[in-house]
């Protein structure tokens, strides 16, 4: 190889080297440029995608993407929050979320999505992960690739649970309102500008006798209807004219009264309904006030009736307030008291009518009224001109509508006459008691005065005998003896009279007397001759009475029997029989008997049938008196020479 050749080759190589170096440099620059560009592009891309990402992540509504099988492939933060699922971990299919009641609706919406490529305003319920039910609003669309092939579906999901709930509440309250209106106790009609019915209710139909559902009346012309309904009113033309006038005025009318043919009275109100400048119609209301009106009328009539009674009754009536001030009196009270109503109104009843002694009583009575007690009492009133009268007052508290005591009402009856009679009776009783006492006293004095001479005679006779001892013959001595016996008899008589007058004069207290014991004790002290046997058939009862007096009864009757038994074998039989309110005792003997004609006489004072030393004839009259004192009777059965049975009853 030549040098030239080598040189040429070497030079060429050098050039080549240099060129390559330059090319490399350019390449290097270009590649640097390229790098920078791509670097910038990448940054741009990143920027864009993160921008987009930010939009999805940051929109308030949930954003979801599902693949064609319905599996979720993307949830934004709001979606994760809404559904509670983390789809990076949970594999969730859209069907899991659909509320079972909305399934049909969901399926039809999916169909829309497939055919039209989107759906809008889908509102349905979904389940969250915690099985909570939420209302959601979804707009969805299909996602296509560059070949227009569907690869996924995306959706914006908005939580409308709260909104839905308030909407439901609104409907509910609207329903309530509607049902309230329908069932209102007043008939209402809401009509529009053209007087067509917008709303009415049951009561309206009832009041006007319309046999229809209120809903069916909507749209009906009120003018025509009222033409038909006018016959229901007592004054049909008046009804129509007034209605027209109100309609023309379009101003609130309250409290018109309409009398209906059937006697009902309706109160009619009218008011335009304006909501913010805009007329919403006109409301008529009809209320049945018949009861209220008739109630007021009957109340009025009742009031009048009672007013008449009060005004015309013969009893004085006074109404007082809590301070005893007179609020009202009736005419009778005016007559009773001598004051006119004008003179007493506002005056204190207590100071006006009561004496000093009576004031305390009235105060007491006032306290009773304050406690709500009613009662009656007697009161000595000082009338006009100082006349004193006795009033029987029936007082009762007076209440207001709230049940508070606001005073009292007193009905007064003048009982002065009765009271005077009562006083008179008391005086008479007192006098009677006194004269009884005096009589008793008198009996004692008389018996004392009668007995004194007897004593003196006895002393004188004794002295005559004593001073003439041995000088008197037998006949004289016998006569002296007779004087003494007569004196004794006389004294006994006086004693008996005194005893008789004493029975019943002393007010002895009644106690339980065991007749059985008393009788047994009595038998021991009485003189019973040996030929007489006393038999007792029953146990004698316990009686309420005076023991001494009851004993006197038995003693007298048994002594009588003993005295008058003339048979060799005397029998006295005591028995008792239980009557309802009394006991009937019997004392039977086999003595001389008593003739029928004397049966009444023997109980009268001084009617002894057989005068004897120890019989003054007062015994049986005392017995009768005692029996009568014990609310009993005494009678007898007797046959001369066979015997006598005395019967007497004593109250239990």
């Amino acid at each position: 190889m030549s040098v030239n050749q080598t040189e040429i080759l070497e030079r060429a190589l050098k050039r080549e080297k240099a060129a390559r170096k330059a090319a490399e440099k350019i390449l290097e620059e270009k590649s640097r440029e390229l790098y920078l560009t791509s670097q910038r592009l990448e940054e741009l891309l990143d920027e864009k995608s993160s921008q987009l990402e930010g939009i999805f992540e940051n929109i308030l509504d949930a954003y979801v993407v599902i693949d064609l099988k319905g599996d979720f492939i993307k949830f934004n933060e709001a979606a994760t929050k809404l559904f509670g699922y983390d789809i990076t971990r949970d594999k969730i299919n859209v069907t899991h979320l659909i509320h079972k009641e909305d399934y049909q609706y969901a399926m039809s919406s999916f169909l829309d999505l497939q055919t039209k490529g989107f759906f809008k305003d889908y509102e349905a319920r979904v389940y969250t992960k915690s099985k909570e039910v939420k209302w959601v609003h979804i707009n969805g669309s299909i996602v296509f690739d560059k070949n227009k092939k569907p690869i996924a579906a995306q959706g914006i999901v908005r939580d409308i649970t709260a909104q839905k709930a308030s909407a439901e509440k609104l409907i509910e309250s609207e329903n309530r309102l509607a049902s309230l209106i329908v069932n209102l106790d007043s008939g209402i009609v809401l009509e529009d500008e053209n007087r067509n019915i917008v709303l009415t209710n049951n009561k309206f139909c009832e009041l006007f006798g319309i046999d229809a559902n209120p809903k069916d009346l909507v749209g009906m012309d009120c003018v025509a209807a009222s033409e038909r309904n006018k016959v229901l009113f007592k004054d049909p033309e008046g009804f129509l004219n007034r209605m027209r006038a109100i309609d023309l005025e379009k101003k609130v009318v309250i409290g018109d009264e309409l009398e209906m043919v059937d006697g009902k009275i309706l109160e009619r109100n009218y008011m335009p309904i304006i909501i913010g400048e805009k007329s919403k119609g006109f409301l008529w209301t009809f209320t049945d006030v018949t009861l209220k009106r008739t109630y007021r009328k009957s109340l009025e009539a009742q009031k009048q009736k009672y007013y008449n009674i009060i005004a015309n009754m013969n009893l004085g009536m006074v109404e007082l307030n809590n301070n005893d001030q007179i609020l009202m009196v009736n005419q009778s009270f005016e007559e009773m008291s001598g004051y006119t109503e004008a003179e007493v109104i506002g005056k204190n009843a207590r100071t006006l009518f009561s004496s000093k002694e009576g004031a305390g009583l009235l105060k007491e009575e006032r306290e009773k009224r304050k406690k709500g007690e009613s009662n009656s009492y007697e009161f000595e009133a000082i009338c006009k001109k100082g006349k004193r009268r006795y009033w029987l007052v029936s007082g009762a508290p007076n209440y207001n509508l709230d049940g508070e005591i606001i005073g009292s009402i007193g009905i007064h009856l003048d009982v002065t006459e009765t009271k005077n009679l009562e006083f008179q009776k008391e005086k008479l009783l007192e006098k009677l008691e006194k004269s009884n006492d005096e009589l008793q006293e008198y009996a004692h004095i008389v018996s004392h005065d009668l007995k004194s001479p007897l004593r003196s005679i006895d002393a004188l006779v004794s002295w005559l005998k004593e001073d003439n001892k041995g000088k008197l013959d037998a006949v004289s001595l016998q006569n002296f003896g007779l004087i003494e016996t007569t004196l004794e008899k006389m004294e006994q008589l006086i004693t008996d009279v005194l005893n008789y007058s004493s029975v019943g004069a002393e007010t002895s207290k009644k106690e339980d007397v065991d007749i059985e014991t008393m009788f047994n004790d009595l038998i021991k002290i009485l003189y019973i001759p040996e030929h007489i046997i006393i038999k007792k058939c029953n146990v004698l009862p316990v009686i309420k009475g005076d023991k001494t007096k009851l004993q006197q009864v038995f003693q007298n009757l048994i002594s009588n029997s003993v005295k008058f038994i003339d048979k060799d074998d005397g029998n006295i039989i005591i028995d008792v029989e239980d009557l309802k309110s009394h006991y009937k005792f019997s004392i039977q003997d086999n003595g001389i008997g008593i003739d029928k004609k004397y049966h009444d006489k023997i109980f009268k004072i001084f009617h002894s049938l057989k005068k004897s030393k120890d019989s003054s004839g007062i015994g049986l009259s005392i017995v009768k008196k005692i029996v009568n004192l014990h609310e009993g009777e005494i009678w007898l059965d007797s046959e001369p020479n066979v015997g006598t049975t005395f019967y007497f009853t004593l109250k239990k």
Binding site: I445, S447, S456, S462
Partner: protein
């Protein structure tokens, strides 16, 4: 020792006075009887404070001042109230009896019908008071 009593008898009935006197002489008792026919007379007798009776026998039934009234006058007196006063009465009226004992009597004797009974009662009464210690004023 049997005391000799000075007895004031207040009695309006003459025979009753005779009865007491005769009884005392019949029983041979040595008592002195001062007679007063009514309360006023008796009060006059009782004026002599240095010669007061040991006991008083008082009839309830007297004119003018009656027995109970007289008794009350007696009991109201600071000195005379100490003289034992025995009622002699026909009345066994409970009211009188109660009233007498309430006012303050030393005894209450009913005058019996029979003279013999009277003698026996008076004998016992005087025997009782003649053995009693009495306040000497």
């Amino acid at each position: 020792m049997v005391k000799k009593l000075k007895i004031l008898l207040i009695e309006d009935d003459m025979i009753e006075i005779m009865k007491l006197n005769r009884t005392i002489s019949r029983l041979k008792l040595d008592h002195t009887i001062v007679e007063a026919n009514n309360g006023e007379e008796a009060l006059e007798v009782l004026e002599q404070k240095d010669n007061l009776p040991d006991i008083i026998l008082l009839d309830l039934n007297m004119p003018k001042i009656n027995g109970i009234e007289f008794l009350k006058i007696l009991k109201a007196d600071d000195v005379l109230k100490y003289i034992p006063t025995i009622i002699l009465s026909t009345s066994n009226n409970k009211k009188d009896l109660l009233e007498c004992y309430k006012t303050g009597v030393a005894g209450y004797v009913i005058k019996p019908l029979k003279y013999e009974d009277y003698v026996s009662k008076i004998e016992k009464l005087l025997a009782y008071w003649s053995v009693n210690e009495l306040i000497v004023v």
